[in-house]
Subunit: 347 residues, 2 copies
DNA sequence: TTGTAAGCGTTATCAT
DNA sequence: ATGATAACGCTTACAA
């Protein structure tokens, strides 16, 4: 098929410049060019050559082929961020925190969304590994997370953030759920509430589980351990509504409800409103997370502030150390603080 | 270093199974195994062999190395989704729409977040291409988007969604901004408003630009073309507040304000409130997008409903056709509808 | 139907 | 300081 010039101006799919192209132009061997281009081995090449190669490469618009690089080195300079729910506004700040440190180190981050499905989680983790990510920040971990444990065991650096896997072989950055719940219950107790209910989070998440545990312990300690509890299946408004309905059916006399997070709390307040009950006049409600947008939604929610961005930063820090095979990477628990607003009032 | 068994049980980094490993086990050549595993060329291998290979591969937990596959075939079965703002809740439904069709076709999607920075956008697009994505769904396109145009020109399949690039070489799925704005202005006019202001979106986005154009045209046609206009630099609450302050300074007599999207509208209402003005009693306000959460924020916002999930589905459909090199991939404009709620009232 | 071998674009290990 | 060469794991003509 002898064609003088078969390129239609349209689809000028100009072939990507490779190392060989650069080598030909500068009249050197590809290996020399490779060395000149790699900051680490640049020292083993003459200054004159380094300069010439660098100039030619940038002039020609050379961009290394990451596939080839990855195949050869088994590194991709890419990390994955696994989110349980892309629509939950507490995660963007975490993502920003993670990216702020990883980008500075030359890593690109790909975000994936499990929609709280373990099957999707497993699939997506596989996908990420197939694409050769060097590490994973996991914000969608469950307490027993076979998929996360498996890849961690295989030697893939994984750090969970916000939630943790009970098996401590996966380092984590979490918020002090226990302390947060203690502060919330103390606050309600001080307001005179003696019949306090709890809309718990999904029990396969560490947050849901530990907040429920802390709630029970605090109430027990104060002698009001008989408050009603409803366990949600997901951190959504819908589940908040459903659980609150169940709670009220079971025990109409509650004067306060501790929700395991803000989303659930919003659902709780909706359920209250649907029954003609008001918050906080009839029932006090608390959340957890202090998510964005809360300031626009009445009543201003009393909640537990967590430092989302900082958690992301910390998680990325751990991941970096893991990826560098450093020793003694310790999990961290970040402090939280109670934000008293208008959804809680005297009993 | 003669070690009988140097593997510490700890770091049992069991080497990844390769095609060769499978080939050895079944006693066949790698090429035969490769053919047996590829549904397309499986026909050229005996049924018995196919079965044996498939069994062995799954028993051994074989997972193909995408890097090698990609290096060889120049395909990665991966697509990128570029978002302008991961914290904006209108994008999750779009992402879900995109994923719903791409996943069914075997593609994994990686989400990246530009934070509205053209520099980040350029960097992230490069990152995605370096990692060998087969196509890009671009929700962060600007009207003149050098980076998007460049990769599109290079032959990378790109579809923009929600926003469009003016240069039509990048196919798009957008909402009918013009119609939406016409409906909004007609609604306000019918309510008796004659002095209508506009808080416009960033003029480097097609949404901001075309909504402003449509606003001006509609007002002109009705003889109230002298309403004040403030142009925002980003679709955020903060910018909404700032622009509304400017608008009121410039022209305190407006009785209605059309915001270019819901985020801006929320800021507008905040600015109003800060001055002791009420919505809708003193000033009517409208938004655009009908984003999630709006139902919880008072007053219920009159806005333009766009079908976010559908837009994602449509965009993914176009992208698939592009990736298959099909002809005649046509951009689409989706219909919108006015949602009249309580943020608008008689003048 | 199966095997052979080349090659995708790199980096790393030699030798020069 | 630079060049030759092998190898990473896979696909795909081509040969048998």
């Amino acid at each position: 098929m002898p064609s003088i010039c078969s390129e239609p101006a349209e689809a000028m799919q100009k072939k990507r410049i490779t190392l060989r192209d650069v080598a030909e132009v500068v009249g050197l061997h590809v290996s020399t060019v490779s060395r000149a281009l790699d900051p680490n081995s640049r020292s083993s090449v003459s200054g004159e050559v380094a300069a010439r190669v660098l100039a030619a490469a940038s002039a020609m618009g050379y961009r290394p082929n990451r596939m080839a690089y990855g195949l050869r080195t088994n590194r991709s300079m890419t990390t994955g961020i696994v989110l349980p729910d892309i629509a939950n506004v507490i995660f963007p700040p975490i993502v920003r925190g993670v990216e702020s440190v990883l980008e500075a180190e030359g890593y690109a981050s790909f975000i994936v969304n499990t929609d709280n499905s373990p099957r999707r989680e497993e699939r997506l983790l596989e996908t990420l590994l197939d694409r050769g990510v060097d590490g994973v920040v996991h914000a969608a971990a469950t307490r027993e997370d076979p998929a996360a444990l498996e890849i961690s065991r295989q030697g893939v650096p994984v750090v969970s953030v916000n939630r943790r896997v009970e098996d401590t072989s996966v380092p984590f950055v979490v918020n002090d759920d226990e302390s947060g719940l203690r502060q919330v219950v103390a606050h309600l107790w001080d307001l005179g509430h003696r019949r306090i209910g709890h809309v718990a989070g999904p029990q396969d998440t560490s947050t849901g589980f530990h907040r429920l545990e802390a709630f029970a312990r605090c109430c027990e300690a104060r002698g009001c351990g008989d408050g009603p509890i409803a366990v949600s299946k997901a951190y959504t408004r819908e589940e908040g509504r459903r659980c609150m309905d169940a709670l009220l059916g079971q025990s109409p006399s509650v004067t306060a409800v501790v929700a395991a997070n803000d989303m659930l709390a919003l659902g709780v307040i909706e359920a209250l409103r649907a029954r003609g009950l008001r918050c906080p006049e009839d029932v006090s409600v608390t959340g957890f997370n202090d998510m964005p947008f809360l300031d626009l939604i009445p009543p201003p929610l009393t909640t537990v502030r967590i430092e989302q961005f900082d958690a992301g930063v910390a998680a990325a820090g751990l991941l970096l150390r893991l990826m560098r095979h450093e020793e003694g990477v310790e999990s961290v628990t970040l402090p939280v603080s109670l934000r008293i607003r208008e959804s809680t009032a005297a009993a």
